[in-house]
């Protein structure tokens, strides 16, 4: 394509050669700094990299105080009750798994109210939020779930299905996450029975069989049954992190990075791409450029036109933090603010009815959108803002 500057090229090779000599020397020895700008280090970190020992007040390029910190004693011992209040994680062996129970049907009802607006009907996605169900669990002869081998090497192919049933290795992750982090806008609001019900529903939708039993609508999940769950893709992950050798397995895995995660080779001249089996790599250009970015691309250094100070009303602030998640998009089944035609239709019910619906809940929307601490007049104020923002003159 062009001629490399011969002289510079030669310099480059000499430089590369000399630094690789130093580099080799560095790894041959243990404690000697090598290339300027690199530091005493040793191989063998659990992540595959080096560690910088702390010695004689120096670690890597940094100095540190060598004075002892023994006896430092800030803070206090938490009470048993405090630890219990925060120690809510749930581990695969059942540590932290609470008592409780809930049926698939109860979960179905809760799901419709609390989850479907984001995760779609039956967990099938389609609303932009994670798809939870719908993966086919058929296996290849080697036991691998077939849909996970999907590779979209050319456009139009199916993506691998990373759903609860096809991908998640542990059911404890699901019930823990529901308890701590869901529903999305009101996390930590579900009772233990409700998290069992929702977990039961989602497992049933993923065709999970517990101890040989299929999960129909009447199926009641509880702690005892939960501990018998084996997820279809439990063995789909490596290295093995369980047991006393877990950390060592990780270390061994990352020690062979070229084989396990991919690594390059440092060729300097007339190089062939080792990943190409002797063939010439081709230049792949952008097929469909993504330009949907906010703010729009710009590198200009002009002055912006003077902006309005734009006093944001209390109603608008409340709308932004509490209602916009569903009403700011047309994908959630809620009337989108700014959609004039939609709001004209909504207003056919009359203003009073619209406010009442917002207070009492309607369709997938819980009373006051789930913000029970809002007063009725605050809800009315927000509705007024939403109507105003969706009127033609706006």
């Amino acid at each position: 394509m062009f001629n490399l500057d011969r002289k510079l090229m030669t310099t480059g090779i000499v430089l590369a050669f000399s630094s690789s000599l130093l580099y080799g020397g560095f790894f041959g020895g243990t404690d000697a700094p090598s290339v300027p700008g690199t530091y005493v280090s040793t191989m063998g970190s659990v992540d595959g990299g080096v560690v910088y020992p702390r010695k004689d007040g120096v670690t890597g390029p940094y100095r540190y105080s060598e004075q002892s910190t023994a006896g430092i004693n800030h803070g206090r011992v938490p009470t048993a009750n405090e630890i219990e209040a925060w120690d809510k994680d749930i581990m695969p062996d059942g540590t932290g798994l609470p008592e409780g129970e809930g049926s698939v049907d109860e979960g179905d009802e809760l799901y419709e109210k609390q989850c479907a607006s984001c995760h779609g009907d039956f967990g099938a996605g389609g609303r932009g939020y994670p798809t939870l169900t719908g993966g086919n669990q058929d296996r290849l002869p080697n036991g691998v779930i077939k849909t996970l081998t999907n590779q979209r090497t050319v456009p139009g192919l199916d993506a691998p299905k990373r759903t609860i049933g096809t991908y998640w290795p542990k059911a404890s992750t699901l019930i823990w996450y529901i308890r701590d982090a869901m529903p999305y806008a009101h996390p930590k609001s579900l009772t233990n029975n409700e998290i069992y019900a929702l977990t039961a529903y989602l497992l049933a939708q993923n065709y999970i069989v517990i101890d040989g039993e299929e999960m129909d609508g009447d199926y009641v999940l509880n702690r005892e049954k939960f501990l018998k769950i084996k997820m279809p893709n439990e063995d789909g992950f490596y290295p093995n992190i369980d047991g006393p050798d877990g950390v060592e397995n990780v270390r061994a895995f990352f020690a062979d990075r070229a084989k396990n995660i991919g690594a390059g080779t440092r060729c300097m001249k007339d190089c062939k791409d080792p990943g190409m089996d002797g063939k010439e790599a081709v230049v792949m250009r952008i097929a469909n450029e993504i330009t949907d970015v906010v703010p729009a691309y710009s590198v200009v250094r002009d002055l912006l036109p003077e902006e309005d100070d734009g006093v944001v009303s209390k109603a608008e602030k409340m709308y932004n933090t509490s209602c916009k998640l569903c009403h700011g998009t047309d994908q959630m089944g809620a009337p989108m603010v700014g959609d004039v035609a939609m709001w004209r239709k909504v207003m056919e019910k009359g203003f009073g009815k619209v406010v009442h619906n917002a207070i009492d809940g309607i369709g997938g929307m819980p009373p006051k959108g789930g913000y029970e601490d809002f007063t009725n007049s605050e809800v009315q104020m927000i509705v007024e803002f939403m109507i105003e923002s969706s009127s033609e003159k706006h």
């Binding site: 090229m9 970190s45 290849l140 991908y167 701590d180 992950f237 080779t265 990943g275 190409m276 952008i286």
Partner: protein
């Protein structure tokens, strides 16, 4: 100054009015001086004419008790794309650092890339508590003031989301450095080494794993091997000389130098020690690397050796150069496995490589700048950089990485990036692949 103003008149107007008055008098004077000499052919009127800011009073120095960038720098901002979110919802999304505009190896706090799973938590520092418990002889709970009483250390490290470049596994998608590699930033972090605290709590020998849990709505949690905790893990409250920004986990986040930013849990609340890992959501359903075999790599911690040319780039093209111009090819290299030792540049799509110069501070697990002077010839180029670190890692080609992982891995993509420079000096994001 108007010498006819009497003393009582001086007292009757505020200091501020006085300055306004003198400013307008000066402006009138400046207008008279606007063209001290005529602008001739070949002259730059910006030199011949007095400037507005040189002929008027500037702003009062206390206009912004907390300073702001020049108003001309308004394009230098984080950017988002609704395609990197759920339904355009910006509570669980990512914003990209404008790395095409960043100087040196530190990112200003307001431009640090941000990833959240349940919005940016606004933690009240007075109500902040950190609990450390589990397999320790003495569990502990600390207020923020108590935590800050521990001896502090400061370290310069990059933070990178392992999804950086995730959109490019199947081919180039964004014609922008900010979106190709902007899911990373770098700062000087200040806090206490976790080992300093644990030394006094008595970690039990059976403790092999630590859960780090955030206090935000998603209670973001991850399992960390104790070995890393005792090596260089820190609890940090300082970022480039000030408190962490809320977007970066104010008041306290975990810092695991070189490891996935997702592991560096923000708005930290709790550290628990156990003999087993936890299988949190972000280490199972997400942040696992699905390979073409149908099996996925889990507990993939360190960001591998990586580099990108920041100038030129799609945002900073060479369309203003003329043949024969000497120009600097500049970029960033980084590795979570150690320190950058070499960066090579290719101008011909990876057939031949030249070693670039490292410049500035070369620190472990930190951004490192590289530089190569090039004589612009106005010819098309395929411009790539390839970094090497002191753990003997070399950045792979797209095809080398693809051969091991496939194209559905999402995370930990560190293959060589290529810019196509056209004959006109425009710069486009391309890939060299099978």
């Amino acid at each position: 100054m108007d010498k006819t103003l009497k003393k009582e008149e001086m007292n009757s107007i505020s200091r501020r009015d006085f300055f306004k008055k003198t400013a307008s008098v000066s402006a009138v004077a400046a207008a008279a001086l606007l063209s001290p000499s005529a602008v001739l052919a070949g002259d730059d009127e910006n030199i011949i004419h007095h400037t507005k800011w040189g002929t008027t009073l500037g702003d009062e120095l206390n206009k912004f008790p907390y300073g702001l960038p020049s108003k001309y720098e308004h394009s230098v901002v984080r950017r988002t794309s609704s395609l990197m979110s759920s339904a355009g919802d910006m509570h669980a999304a990512v914003s990209m650092c404008p790395i095409h505009e960043i100087q040196g190896i530190i990112v200003p706090n307001g431009l640090h890339f941000t990833r959240t799973h349940n919005g940016v938590a606004q933690v009240d520092p007075n109500k902040f508590r950190l609990m450390i418990h589990g397999l320790v002889d003495k569990p502990i709970v600390l207020t923020l003031d108590e935590l800050k009483k521990y001896p502090s250390e400061s370290r310069i490290h990059f933070l990178e989301c392992p999804s950086n470049g995730a959109g490019e596994w199947k081919g180039p998608q964004f014609n922008s450095l900010q979106f190709v590699k902007g899911m990373m930033s770098a700062s000087e972090w200040t806090g206490v080494r976790l080992k300093t605290i644990l030394d006094e709590l008595g970690l039990k020998p059976t403790a092999k794993w630590m859960l780090a849990e955030g206090s935000d709505g998603s209670e973001m949690g991850r399992s960390v091997p104790v070995e890393k905790v005792l090596d260089d893990a820190m609890l940090v409250w300082g970022q480039n000389g000030e408190a962490l920004r809320p977007e970066q986990g104010y008041p306290v986040r975990l810092l695991l130098p070189g490891w996935e930013a997702n592991l560096c849990v923000k708005w930290l609340k709790r550290l628990e020690f156990s003999d087993k890992p936890w299988y949190a959501k972000e280490e199972t359903s997400k942040y696992t690397v699905l390979t073409a075999s149908g099996k996925a790599i889990q507990h993939f911690y360190a960001l591998e050796v990586n580099s990108i040319i920041t100038s030129p780039c799609p945002e900073k093209p060479w369309d203003d150069l003329i043949q024969g111009d000497m120009v600097e090819i500049e970029g960033l290299a980084w590795s979570g496995h150690g320190t950058i030792t070499n960066v090579d540049i290719s101008l011909d799509g990876g057939k031949n490589w030249i070693e670039a110069n490292l410049k500035g501070l070369v620190l472990p697990k930190a951004w490192t700048r590289f530089s190569y002077m090039y004589k612009y010839e106005g010819k098309p180029l395929l411009l790539s950089s390839r970094a090497v670190d002191d753990s003997k890692n070399v950045q792979p080609t797209v095809n080398q990485e693809k051969a091991v992982i496939g194209v559905e891995g999402v995370y930990h993509r560190n293959s060589i990036c290529t810019w196509e420079v056209t004959a006109k000096g425009e710069v486009h994001n391309v890939q060299l692949r099978s």
